[in-house]
Structure formats: structure tokens, C-alpha cells
Homo-oligomer: 229 residues x 6
């Protein structure tokens, strides 16, 4: 059955804002190395960094009808996450849909397929993470669903989850874990700041992380290169 | 037999100029969603947007001899389209060939293979759409043909066809259909301008495109998310 | 057995500097079209151009422990070259390791796997050529080796070899051949400068390279396109 | 946190048996075109057709420790479903693990990674659907989880779900929907049997499915090929 | 515009039969190394070898409606060639459509997309060359065209062309060149038979093809391996 | 410079025979998880298992001239290993070259590119591991080298090394390590035989390999699935 869920629960605004201060790598580590979507998703331009609540779309390959349906479900601060039911690199999304989302203050599109009008999207500064850039048009013939759990680029996304995206890719934080992940991100960042300074000053990770004994125990051998050649 | 066709018919200059005002997505839609080359072809730098007449080259894998032959067939406003007879990512083209094409006012290279010297090409602002960047050199040993129909990145290109390329990829307009496609592109752009304004003002595509009745008829269900979790 | 070779022989500084004046394509041609790593390695930002001596790391997939070990073996002017023993796109390297390498004046990272923190690496201007950008964390559990010969993106790299990298990719010059390749690069560049000028002035490669007789002998036919359509 | 869930609910034996009478294509259609894992999963030998209850494993790339843990959770009629947390083609599974699973009457392995010893697995008739065949060994160093929901080849698999696999690939039926999908599969098969006979007798799908009016309404034109060439 | 061309010209039966005696490699060479479709097309079972006249289908991604339309245009000895307008690995074709084609004595399907029911197709001995095996269902919503030229796996196929397919892949012979290619195939086969015998008897290709002088002229050096190691 | 090394040192016959008793997975493990070529190399038919001494060929993409040169350097028990200098899927090798190699009692071909005539090769039982099956012909124009070290499918192969290949892929054993690897393979096989029997009898790897304490120490939690759903 094809359903549009209309009043999804979203993560609290201050948690989303909080997570938005951290990059994808930090958040991914902070939640136990989970939640990353695959590296096939790339930003259409460098430098964007966003956080928002997922509105999800499951739709047929090469058919973007449900994106039009989903726009109505989006509100300020959301991120649209689109996943076709089988592999497709067609161009589901372009400038006009971006104008519509921008008018609703949607923050970004994540799509496991193609997009087009990337020059206009870049000029508008509407960020997109996609697996392809392709002008191939799609049809509007077959239903899908909005705000159901979807698998996007190999990761599971539920409506209302928090989406973090930057030049490293896209990370999903489950809504009910967001508060805890925020705390863990803050802690990780603080710890890394101290390490960063020591590394910049020339200390070695071998010493900072106290690795030498463990390496020796595992049997690592240090040896001068032989002189003959 | 290996042939160089020497006096190909080209599309009229004003039609090429006209089509050059529109992006790849617009032209592709205007000609009935045909003519796109595959999304494996990517620009070596962002922001280029060109239109010109195709001079085509069919050549053996990892052998660029016929590109040298083809240069002589190019004139101002042409676009060189190169397709190896089997898959290759070698670097068939670099700065020197670009200098030669630029001297003849050729507008771009489209190649279903690799190119090199991309820093120099970028500095020259000589645009290239290719499937790879690779410094691997090629030989000059085996003949091919110039100005025969070629399949490039999954699309058919005939000599004299119009090539439109931008950040979305590459679209081919058959020479004899170019005038009609230009008209259709103008019409599409005009229509989109009106839609764009309505979308920017917050109207929904659901309403602008009058989709609600059709969605209901197909059986789409709207439902509040259940409260339990 | 897992070994770290500690005092590798490096190419002479002046030879490395000399080769660093030439691009990857030139050096690759100058050494007889050998030494390129595959085109799957791409720079994380455009415009970097480096030369340095290879410190090599062979490590297990999704385990970056040996990178920490290798840092200690690096000195100013080195380039770290990392190759997992089976295919992986995890993110082995990020900002903190880059800080550590930068503190030692290491010039770049070449890695046949993924990296993360690419925004920070770009801001630091620490150049990386990688096959993926991916935030996926790695573990530190299993030994590998440092300064052994490795196969990286399909090319062989020995410790102390010279690494040249630019927007075209990565080229390896064996240490003992570096002096000869430098001379050949100088000669090639000089020759190309003369050719460049002739091509810019509109002379054809067909004439400059004296190809017409050879083409005719091979049987290439020039023919006007037929008038019927 | 790394957890092994130990007493998962499984679908009823008779439902699993029932679904096992139908192929992957039939079951996939019967449940509304959902549930397929991606076509990158291929059987290591042709002709196997299995149904069973999923025991799921989430593990680090190139580390098969958790498969050893999962064996203990398997019982007769189960299917082991293994998904690394990032892309890997290493060989996580071979003859010895297959012996262990076969001793527990496990029916198959589904793995979004590589396997080895495929000759021995074929001789044993232990069926495997994998994305690669690769002898590359893995380590046993890092924990994962057993019987948590996993994304495998782009599809979601929960412990206790029913796995159907044949030469067409792998389909997942959620445990709570299995009874309904079984009924729908029976209905579909019955309907197809009637259609099959009519098609074998030379009737056209155009007539059986009553497509002609709809095609005409959409504007399909039938036209003799022109005589000129 | 969407058109079905209804009375296409086909190659003469005896030419098709004649070409069917030769493998794909022979025919490809005999027509000057042209006409191959890409190696992404693989047979669903080993050992099939067919020749027939192409009935072509251009259709939207993930929509198989036009295959149903095309069946009516097929006659005994034809081969159905199907190409989506953008990349797709969905399963457009299965047992029921194969029954329908078999009832009309169609010899094979060539499809640049996915198929399903491969066990049943194999049991029926209905040969298929496809780029994927995937059970994913398609819709029947959008028109395409039948018997127009299509690009399939990177090669151009016109209706009425001869299709040769075996374990090496698929080769297309243009209808108007078929008689000449048949003669060239016969000649090539005869010549290879003589060479085959000499090679089996231990003569070297170096001598049979008289390569030694040319190799020496190009500068090939023969040298004993050095004794030190 | 292009060189053919003519009297390469080969591993001792009894060592080659000894290693030929073990599969690729066993030998790869026995030599410390090194030596595998990549999983892109697949056998053209199932069931072949060979061992022999490498005669290596480095050649240009889409040019098989050097294979003809290399045949003369082969003797009974050798395995031809072919690697193009840049990526290619053309068909470098077919039945005639196989006849020539078979006449010299060469055991197999390993090629990081395409082959053709796979039906005839299968009927002859001439085993090939390749990355593609493709009928695309190659030229004979440009020199390469024979019996130099080559990188093939990501692995290093030196002339005279031992090649082991079976349905799992291809493993290279350096000539000077072959005796030691043979011993280690024997030891591994003996140990696995004992383990195999225990696993077949239903003992768990968890107990045989004594993993429970280590798992507990790392923090693995066992927990019944919760009853609510």
C-alpha cells in the first residue's frame, strides 16, 4: 500500500542545531561508527554543511512523482531523503523542485540517484548529495510512499531522523538517540582538540595513544633497510 | 575501410547559437527526452556551457592518431566528439592538442575515454567532458575514421549534429531536428519561468500541476504517523 | 612477518626538486610511459602539485594502525603511500593524522582507499590523492609493514621512490632511475615548448609530426560526404 | 554496544515451507515489489533454491569474528545473513564455517562481501549468495552484533525474517507479513499458470492484458517502415 | 513521438543461417572489428549460439510495456533487442514473456538491463544476453518505440540487422552488409583452420605470421636474465 | 626499453607440484595472507585447478603482439601472465593462441583484460582467468616486454614465480619462498583436517578456537530479544 505519513515526530530543534556544529566524521564516530550512508553519495558542490530532520521518500526508479507529494510534508529545517526501489541514475530533481523546497526552508536533498540543473542549484546554494549528475528526465506515473523507513545508499533512514551532511558524505542519527549522540560528539571534539594541538607540536600518535608496547607485543619488528641493492 | 569525410553538413549558425542559450536538461526535455550521453561523462572543471557542431572520431583503444587527423577537419564553432571502439581510460588528449583546437576556435572536446593536462586545460578554459582523467599516453599506429556516426557514452552522434554541454552533461540534437528543438526549448523555458515564480512564492507543485485527483484515483493514502513507538 | 624498515635510501633532494617542476604526464612520458598509478586515485582538491620520496605502508583493510607507525618514519619532503591488502573504501586518514604529517613537513598522502575530514584537509592545504572520500572509521588491531614495496592502485611503489602528483594523478619514478628521468623530462618539455608555439599559431600536428605519408600508406581515404541524405 | 540477541522469534515453519515453493520473483511481486536485495548478490553455483529464517550478523569490514559467534545462534532451517559495516570483498567464509553451519542444518549463507573455497562449497551443496569470490583472509579482532537489523545489498533484513533465494537473487519477507505474502504468492502463481498456457498457445499479452485501448489512448502510432533507405 | 514500425525489412534467411555458422569473434573480425555490443552483456547460461533478425525496442527505465507491444511484431527467426533510455538493472523480462516469444519462434532476447526467472528460462532453453539478473518488477505506464534504431550496450542496432550471439557476447551485422560479411567470415574461417593446424603442431605464430623482422626493426631486445639476484 | 628475458629461473618442479595439491585459499593463508591477485579475475569455466611457473607479459592496451612473442619463451608447466599497461577489456587471446600454448604444454593463461572464443577454450579444457570475456580484436603494432615483473589485477608477479589458480582466484608464490610456503601449506592443511572433523561433528568454532573469554573481555553482551514488538 502507498502511504504518506503526515505528522511525523521530529528531533528537537536544539539537538539538531547542536549536532549541526559537528562534521559527519565526528558524529559517525560519536555514535559508535554507525549511521553513515555509502561513499557513492557526493555533494554537487564543495563546502556545504547541513543538519536537519529527514522527510523520506520511497519511489519507483525513474519516476519522481512522489517527490512532488513529499514537498507538502516538508517544513523549515527538514532534509528530503529520496531512495528509488531499484538502482537508477536518472535526474529526479532540478531547479524547480529546489525552488519549491527552498520556499519551505528545506535545507538539502539526499538522493540515491541522479539530479540535474546543478549549475542553478549551486548558484542558489541549495545543497544536494547524490550518486549521479544526469539530465535524464523522469515520469510521474507510479505511486510510492512518504515518511516510511527507506534504505538510502546502503543505510537505513527513518522519518524524523537527523541528517548530517558535509564534504565527507552523509550520516544519519536516529531520532531517539540524538541527544546522547550530541553529548558524545561534544566529548569527542573536546578530546580531539587536545590531541590536535599535541600533534601539531610534533608529538607522535605512537606516544599520545601509547601504542608502542602493544605493537611490540604483537611482534612488530623495526629493522634498518639492507645496504645491498 | 577507414575514411575521413571532409565537407560535412553542419547545422545553421543561428540555430546553434539559439540552442546554446539553453541548458542540457532543457534541450533534452524539449526533444522528447532523447539525445543524452551517459552520466559517466563529466566536465573537467565546473561552469562551462557550450554549443557547437560535432566533428566525430572513431578510433582504436589507446591510440590517438585519428585525433590529429580530425583537427584538420574542424572549423570555428565545432566540437570534437571522440569514441574508442572498445573501453579505454587512457589519456588521448592534452594541452598540445587543445592548443591546436583552440587555434581553430573549436569549442570543446567530448571523449568517452581519458584526458590529461587538466590543469593546463582548465587554465586555458578549454572545456572537456570525459569519462576519466588519466596521464597514460597513447600510440599513433592504427587508423580509425573521422566524421562517421559514433556511439559515445551510450548515445549516437552523427557529424554535424549539435552538441550542447554544461555541468549536467552532454546532449546531442540531430542536425535536421535542430530548428524544431530550438522552438520547443524556447517554449519550455517560457513555461518554466512562470512555474518557477509560483514555486518560489510557495505554491505547491501538487496544485500547479493539478496532481491531487490523479493521486487519489491511484489510491494514495494520507495517514498520521501512529503515536506508539 | 611484519617489519618497519627504518633508514630507507631516498632520492637526492635536487633530483626530487627537479622532477617537481614537471607534471605527471610529462614525467610518465619521459620514463617510457611507465610508473602511473591508476585513474581511480583522485585529488581531494584541485591544483595541488607535489614531488617527494615515498614512505610506503602495507596494511590490512579498514585498519589504520600502521599509518600511526609510519608517521615516525617520515621526514621533511616525504610522501606517504598507503595500500590496503584488499579492497577498502573506509576512511583511514583525517585531519589529526594530517596535522601530525604536516608537523614533520610531509608533502602529501597517496592512499588506495578512503579519507575523511576533506574540508579541513583542504583548508590546511594538505594534499591527498585517494580512491574515495568516506567518513567510515577504521580499527587499530592488526599489524602491517612500513617501507616494503607495495602495489597501490595497480602500480608498484618502493620506499624511497619519487612520487609526482598533480591534477592528472600520480606517477612513480624508481629511485635509481630518477636522474635519467629528470634529464628526459627536461628534454621533453623543451621539445613540447617549440611544438606548443607552432600549434598555437595554427600549424597542424599532421604537418609538424609529418604524418601524412604514413596515413596514406596505411590506406586512409579522404572523401566528401555524400550529398543525398 | 555490541550485542548478540539469543532467542529471536522466527516465522512459523509451515509458512517458511510454503514460501519455499515459490521463486524469488513471485514472492517479490506478491509482497508488492518490495524486499529484494540488490543484484550484486549472486549464487556461487546455479540451481539452488532455499527458504529459511534469517540470523543476521553486522560485522566490521574484513573481520569475520562475529560469524563464529553467530553459528551458535543458528538452528535447523536458518539462513545466515552477513553484512559488513563498510564495503569489503574479502573472503569471510569458507569450507570450515560451512561444515559448522551444515552440522546445524543451516540452509544457506547470504553475504554482502566475499567467500572462498567455492569448489568445496559447491561439492558440499552448501548454497551461498555473495557479492564476490575472493580468497583474501580476514581477521578476528573486532566485535559486531548478531540478530540486529542489518542493511544487506541495499535491503533491510531483521532477525527472524524469511529469506527466499534462487538463481534470480534474494528476497526478504518480514516475519509478521509472511502469512499474507504466502497467500498472495499462491494467488499469483495460480493466475500466472493460466496466463502461461494462453501465451504458450500463441495468444498475445496485448490481448490477454487488454492493453490495446490504453496504448491507443496514450498515442502509440503503428506505421509501416518507409520504403526508401 | 512513439512509433511501432510494423513491416521492417529483414536480412535474407540464407544469409542469417550462413552467419549463424560462425562465432561472434569471427564475424566481428570479418566485418572489420566493428559491431560488438559491450562485454557487460552476458548469457544467462553457457553454450547458446544464435543468429536472427533484430526487432528493436526503445523503452523507459523500469517499464516493460513496450516489450508486450513488440512481441506482436516478432516472427520466427527474430531476436528481440531491448534498450532502456537510461541505465536500469530492473527485471524487464521473465518466463511468461519468454513463453510468448517462444510460441512465435523468436530465437533470443538481448537486453541492456535485467531479467528474471533465469532458472525457468534455462530449463526452456530460451537464451538471453543481459547486463543483470534481477527479480525487480517493472511497470507498464509509459510508451516507447519499436523498430527504431537503438543503442544497446554501447552498440548501434537497427531493426532488421542480424544479431549473432554466443558465449563471447553479441555482434550486430548491418542488414545491407550481411552478404559481404558472410563471405568474409567464410574466408577468415578457412584461413584460421590452416593456421590452427600449424599451431597445434607446434609452429610458432612468430614464424607463421612472419613477425621476427618487424619486431627487430622496432627494437625488441632478447636478453638472458641476469644471474645475480 | 622493450626486452624479452630468455632464460628465466623457474621454481623446482617438485615444489610446483607440491603447491598444486593445495587450493588458492590455503596457499594464500600459508604465506601470510599475501600474494592474491584481485577478485576481478574469474575463471572462464568452473573446476580448473592449476599450478605452474609464470612467464610474464607487459603489453600496451588493446595490442596482443607481445603474447605471440611470449609463446616462444614458454615451456611445459608454465603459466602465461599478461598485464596491459592501462585498463582494457579487449579480447587479447582466443582459440588459436590457446592451441599454440597447449602445443607447448602451457597450463593456463592469467590475463588482466579480456579473452574470446571461450566456448572453444572450454571444450579444449584450456583454463583462463580473466577480467572480461569480450570478442573485441586487438592490434599488433607496439612493443612491450616479456619476463619483467608486472602488476596484474593489483598483485605483483615476477617471472618464474609460482602461480596457483582455482575457482577462488589466483595466488602468486615468489620463487624463492616457494619451498617454505609448501611446508606451511602442508601444515595448514593438516591442522584444518582435524578442525573440519570437529566442526562436522557439531563442535563450535567458539570452543575449538577458544574465543569465549576474549569475546567477554572485549565486552560482547548476550541478551534475549525483547518481547514487545
Amino acid at each position: 500500500m502507498n502511504v504518506v505519513y503526515t505528522n511525523i515526530r521530529r528531533a528537537a530543534v536544539e539537538v539538531v542545531q547542536g549536532l549541526g556544529r559537528y562534521g559527519v566524521a565526528t558524529v559517525h564516530e560519536a555514535q559508535g561508527r554507525t549511521g553513515l550512508l555509502g561513499p557513492t553519495l557526493r555533494p554537487i558542490y564543495a563546502g556545504a554543511h547541513i543538519a536537519g530532520c529527514a522527510v523520506t521518500v520511497s519511489l519507483p526508479p525513474a519516476d519522481n512523482w512522489m517527490i512532488h507529494v513529499a514537498v507538502e510534508q516538508c517544513q523549515a529545517g527538514d532534509v528530503l531523503v529520496v531512495a528509488p526501489t531499484s538502482s537508477s541514475d536518472a535526474g529526479y530533481f532540478g531547479e524547480l523542485l529546489a525552488r519549491s523546497l527552498a520556499a519551505r526552508e528545506v535545507r538539502a536533498l539526499i538522493i540515491d540517484a541522479g539530479v540535474r540543473d546543478v549549475r542553478a542549484l549551486t548558484d542558489m546554494r541549495f545543497p544536494v548529495w547524490s550518486k549521479a549528475v544526469h539530465a535524464q528526465g523522469t515520469v510521474k506515473e507510479t505511486l510510492g510512499s512518504v515518511n516510511v523507513p527507506v534504505v538510502c545508499a546502503g543505510g537505513l533512514v527513518s522519518p524524523g531522523d537527523i541528517v548530517i551532511a558535509d564534504d565527507d558524505g552523509v550520516c544519519i542519527v536516529p531520532r531517539l538517540e540524538a541527544q546522547a549522540v550530541l553529548k558524545a560528539s561534544e566529548a569527542r571534539e573536546a578530546k580531539e582538540a587536545a590531541t590536535r594541538e599535541r600533534l601539531q607540536n610534533g608529538e607522535l600518535g605512537l606516544d599520545i595513544y601509547d601504542m608502542r608496547a602493544k605493537l611490540a607485543k604483537r611482534g612488530l619488528v623495526f629493522r634498518p633497510q639492507s645496504l645491498t641493492e
